[in-house]
Amino acid sequence: MRELHVSKITEAVKTLCMDANFYLGKDVEGRLKECLEQEESPTGKDVLRKIIENIDIGKDERAPLCQDTGYAVFFVELGQELRIIGGDFNESINEGVRQGYEDGYLRKSVVSDPIERKNTKDNTPAIINVDIVPGDKLKITIAPKGGGSENMSEVRMMAPAAGVEGVIEFVVDRVKRSGANPCPPVVVGVGIGGTFDKCAQLAKRALLREIGSVHVNPFYAELEAELLEKVNKLGIGPQGFGGRCTALAVHIEVHPCHIASFPVSVNMQCHVARHKEVIL
């Protein structure tokens, strides 16, 4: 059985924390440039130009793109033929977060207790989602999540009779009610199905998909396109100052659900749509 020492995980996570906060994906940058071409609002264009300039500064200076360097959220695929040795798996990730946020001059944005609200001062604990998969590799994806867009997210337990029209109404309304708060242009992650908790995670996982990709099921691919069109007709525009470009993409993930249930969730993501992965 293949073995992997926890120190390798810590080292990889440390690098991921920094790189995710300094370097934005080419897919996001490319879509922002398309939006700049298409935007009709002069103020919206100016905002998009500054957002693109910011990406270059992040890259050149290894500076965090946003001061909110996020809650460190991880999606891990652990090969069932891999053995983690030398220590505690979860702690190896948390130690990587601790080192990455300290050495990268990233902001520590986690409080230990939601009522007491004392900063943990090292951005731990991380949120770690693990799936056991075939193989002997370890795939770690980090998606640092900012608070402003996360706060505009919602899960709704709808009646099955609401149907696809119910989904459209809820998603468009959620974006409309969010206005400038989640830092548009946004990426809209939509989860449909599963249970209450599973549904929220679907929406978050939807944010990891490459911008420009479409859902494998043509029905949902079409729904993604329809939702994007409707959202961009709202007029919210870059930073909510008015304009055509409110969302960069709408991504949907679906899962089977209970005969009585129809959960739908929206996870809002700002234009700093960060995620990075590594395979060990």
């Binding site: 001061q67 902001r107 919210i236």
Partner: protein, 185 residues
């Protein structure tokens, strides 16, 4: 977009009255950062009838908690946080003499009403363009509540800090009007 207006802090009634929604501005001078926890303490101080640790009369508060500064830099990446969380505190600070706020996202009616009553202005900055934002900060020092870390009150000296007027002293709202202008169907 028209040419940006240059303004230098502190703000006077006359300067505020010259601003209208949609105006692009470049702010220079001193501004103070303050967000959730700092606001809570400021209001507790006012309620106790004590003096604030910084004189905010005529000043601008920037709702922001920067990333740590790298060695040799005055500040780390800095951009606006969402303003509605400061809405419960803002009217009292405006009555005390605060003239401007910088953040992102819409304000409650009591805040907009207080801005009209006290002749104050709310600017929107670009959320998520914080590496760029740091370039406008020439000097930064913590002046109160150091224990709050990123939430401490910092005195920033800024040069040509870009922002857009979202709510003016007349009660105008760029978020509403901008959206109406570009809405389809």
């Amino acid at each position: 977009m028209s040419e940006p207006k240059h303004i230098t802090t502190p703000l006077t009634d006359e300067m505020v009255k010259d601003l209208k929604i949609g105006d692009s501005v470049l702010i220079s001078g001193v501004i103070f950062t303050g967000r959730d926890s700092a606001h809570k303490r400021l209001i507790e101080t006012l309620d106790a009838g004590e003096d604030l640790p910084v004189d905010l009369r005529g000043q601008i508060i920037y709702y922001a908690g920067p990333a740590p500064a790298k060695p040799g830099k005055p500040i780390g990446s800095i951009g606006p946080t969402t303003s509605y969380r400061m809405d419960p505190y803002a009217p009292q600070l405006l009555e005390y003499g605060l003239k401007g706020m910088i953040g992102k996202g819409n304000r409650s009616k009591p805040v907009v009403d207080a801005m009209k009553a006290t002749c104050a202005v709310y600017f929107g900055a670009i959320g998520g363009a914080a590496a760029l934002g740091a370039k406008t900060v020439k000097k930064a020092e913590v002046v109160a509540y150091e224990d709050l870390g990123p939430e401490a009150i910092r005195r920033l000296e800024v040069e040509d800090f870009p922002a857009v007027v979202v709510n003016d002293w007349r009660g105008g709202d760029l978020y509403k009007e901008g959206m109406a202008q570009y809405q389809k169907e």
